[in-house]
Amino acid sequence: MPSPMSLIYYTFHPQELRSIIQWKVWHNPVHERDESKEPETLRRCFFFLDKTSRSFSAVIKELHPELLGPVCLFYLILRGLDTIEDDMTIPLETKEPILRNFQDIIEKDGWTFTENGPNEKDRQLLVEFNVVVEEFKKIKPAYQTIIKDIAKRMGNGMADYANNAEHNINGVNTIDDYELYCHYVAGLVGEGLTRLFVEGGLANAALLKRPELMESMGQFLQQVNIIRDIKEDLDDKRRFWPKEIWSKYVNQFEDLFKPENKHLALNASSEMILTALSRADDCLYYLAGIKEQSVFNFCAIPQSMAIATLDICFQNHDIFKKNVKITKGEACQLMIESTQNLQLVCDVFRKYTRKIHQKNNPHDPNFLRISMTCGKIEQFIESIFPSQKKPVNEKASPVSVEQAAKAKAEAQEAKWDMIYMGLTVFLTLFIISGSMVFIAWMAGARFDIALDQLKDQWRALMGSSGPSDSGGASGHSEL
């Protein structure tokens, strides 16, 4: 049921309401899941997908049938891993071996985990994890290998962080640490998915040769989430913004949230946004390597949402007070534009890049770098979809002094041509009208009377004529 606030909002933003309706009415999935052919355990997996994923379940369920199952299971396996890592009620001795051996656990028939705290929202997934294991063992071995490899690396990365007491107390230290953390939780997902796409023949194999592109896909999404969720994470006693960035502006992390530090906090946030934004052109480049529509949608929708989120977070002090979100209408508009082709997604990126550029504040220490990053995105888009055509009708360029002189002579000639042409036209008109007058005169036309009349009327018109003249004129007119 829509809230009264949203009713008011959409009354004044009919364009956004239109996008919602359009998306709901006209969006046809590229591929539709055929539930009737699925075994009970797989149906249970999709049930958990809906339960655990807010944003990804819809796009995953529309994936090409070849990858539908593998990607769903990949998601659930990583979600399971994440649920164990996140839960602070599990002692480290229990947690660490599970994280480090998750690649083997997902092959153990009937494996379940019931030691999550009662408040863990995705607890049930691990309680019934045996369905995931059962389905995982049915997918193609090539896909299994990829998923196991990623689970192993991610689990070990998470275990390292769980062991790192400093990280748990002070959060992330340097920008490198920050990007490494994002690599474990998101960059690896990008790698796994890319390998699945290529293995399934739905993406260009060249994507594997440019690992920085798939890394950027994950980094961009994760960094945007970290920027947006700063307040939520603070409330949960977690901090992901690297000290290397915020310490340039405030002494204590908590100082970012003090109202008197508004400008300093905004400067810190724009440096965070700059770091994320520098990945945007890689993401577009990556999307150019996708061959299949459902995979394209799957990849493009989150990216478009991310750049729109970056825009509302930019120069917005609210991120330090609450969770800032794009509106549902905007989200639907973005989904419509991200489920067609790369050019439209580029248009989305360009639109939000320009909005960010417009809000760029000259007082910001990163003003120039942000501007350069915006320029880089624009140039990249221009390089894949040029807005201009090369001029075809080349004006002859004067190659040498002689040629320049020749061109000048030609121009001179053209000018005389023009003069002769004008003269000819004038002469022709003169001869024709002259002969007409002559024939009329021969036929007895009285030009003298007409001429006198014309003179008199002229004088009358000028008003300076004497009475005798005007009498004469009237006399004539009586004739």
Binding site: P362, M372, Q379, E382, K390, E394, A396, S397, P398, V401
Partner: protein, 350 residues
């Protein structure tokens, strides 16, 4: 035993770009450098004991012939050029002088180089061969775009000279042309000082158009690096022979933002911002031109100056990266810091 050094002659070798090229050649430690210029090194600029500085005028072929026969360069780098500033940029008055130095001068240098048995020539052309078509906008243009459409005398003269250089390319005399974007750096005559001057004139709050038009710039040492790379290429594989290359600092930036970044280096941030719509500015420019015509006084504003401030003018660096292996070593924020710091000292010293 050390390899014999390749001999390089740089025309305009004491000028803004020329002296940076001389420095880059010296630092490469592979070249024996002759710097030819109409002026001796100006006070306060760095000179190198191992460089031969020779005075000559490129408009005097016999002077050139003498210097070239003594220097016997393998490669000639021809940087001499004049750039009409202010209103002179937009009208064709004084065009003859520009053409004489930029075109006839280049012709003389080509003849002298060929006459002295040089193996090649690197010519400092300009991005203006494309973007001096004043009514045009250029987004990520590459070298396959045709030249010859420039409407301003500078761009026209550079085009003519570039064509002379490239058409004289042969297997025994390899030539290439570099087209740097607006060059800035310490001692630059036309970029930082002009932008800095807006502060005292109180012009900084006014934005013509929306201030989002992207433009390219290049730091002087990066442009110099590109010249050294071109020399290396012509002496080795010669894949650059007969080709033109855009040289930029790696990515475009909004013209307005570049100005703000310069002003910030001098501690000035516009206290407020006023957008003047393009159409209005064009009209004001027209009026200013009439006023100029009636009174004969020079106005800052003109329709073409408005176009210059609002046009999109940036190019692709792909070809220079691929063939020359060019990579801007100094990034824009660092480069601006150095250039502005230098100008600050210069102003303080006056």
């Amino acid at each position: 035993m050390a390899l014999p050094l390749e001999r390089i002659l740089v025309t305009g070798g004491t000028g803004f770009l020329g002296s940076a090229i001389v420095q880059a050649l010296v630092e490469a430690k592979k070249y024996e450098v002759t710097a030819l210029d109409i002026n001796p090194p100006s006070l306060g600029t760095e000179t190198f004991s191992q460089v031969r500085y020779v005075r000559a005028n490129i408009l005097h072929p016999e002077e050139l012939a003498k210097v070239f026969s003594e220097a016997k360069p393998s490669i000639v780098i021809h940087t001499v050029g004049v750039y009409p500033l202010g209103n002179a940029r937009y009208n064709l008055k004084g065009q003859e002088a520009v053409f004489e130095i930029n075109v006839t001068g280049t012709e003389n240098v080509i003849n002298a180089a060929e006459g002295s048995g040089a193996k090649g020539l690197v010519y400092t052309s300009s991005i203006a061969v494309i973007v001096d078509e004043i009514d045009g906008n250029f987004a990520n243009v590459d070298e396959s775009w045709p030249t010859g459409r420039a409407t301003l005398s500078y761009g026209q003269s550079k085009t003519t000279a570039e064509n002379l250089v490239l058409s004289s390319n042969s297997p025994t005399f390899r030539t290439c042309a570099l087209r740097p974007a607006t060059i800035f750096g310490p001692n630059d005559p036309a970029c930082i000082p002009v932008i800095h001057a807006c502060i005292s004139k109180g012009e900084t709050p006014f934005i013509i158009g929306d201030g989002s038009n992207l433009c390219d710039f290049v730091y002087v040492s990066n442009a110099a690096d590109a010249h050294v790379l071109a020399v290396c290429n012509l002496l080795a594989t010669g894949t650059a022979a007969g080709e033109a290359f855009f040289i930029t600092n790696g990515g475009p930036v909004a013209f307005r933002d570049f100005c703000i970044a310069v002003w910030k280096e001098f501690g000035h941030i516009p206290p407020f911002q006023v957008n003047i719509p393009k159409g209005l500015a064009w009209g004001l420019g027209l009026m200013a031109e009439w006023a100029t015509w009636v009174t004969g006084a020079q106005a800052t504003l003109s329709r073409r100056a408005v176009k210059d401030a609002t046009a999109v003018r940036y190019v692709s660096l792909v070809k220079a990266r691929r063939i020359l292996g060019y990579k801007p070593r100094v990034n824009l924020p660092e480069a601006l810091k150095v250039a502005c710091q230098h100008y600050k000292q210069l102003l303080g010293g006056r």
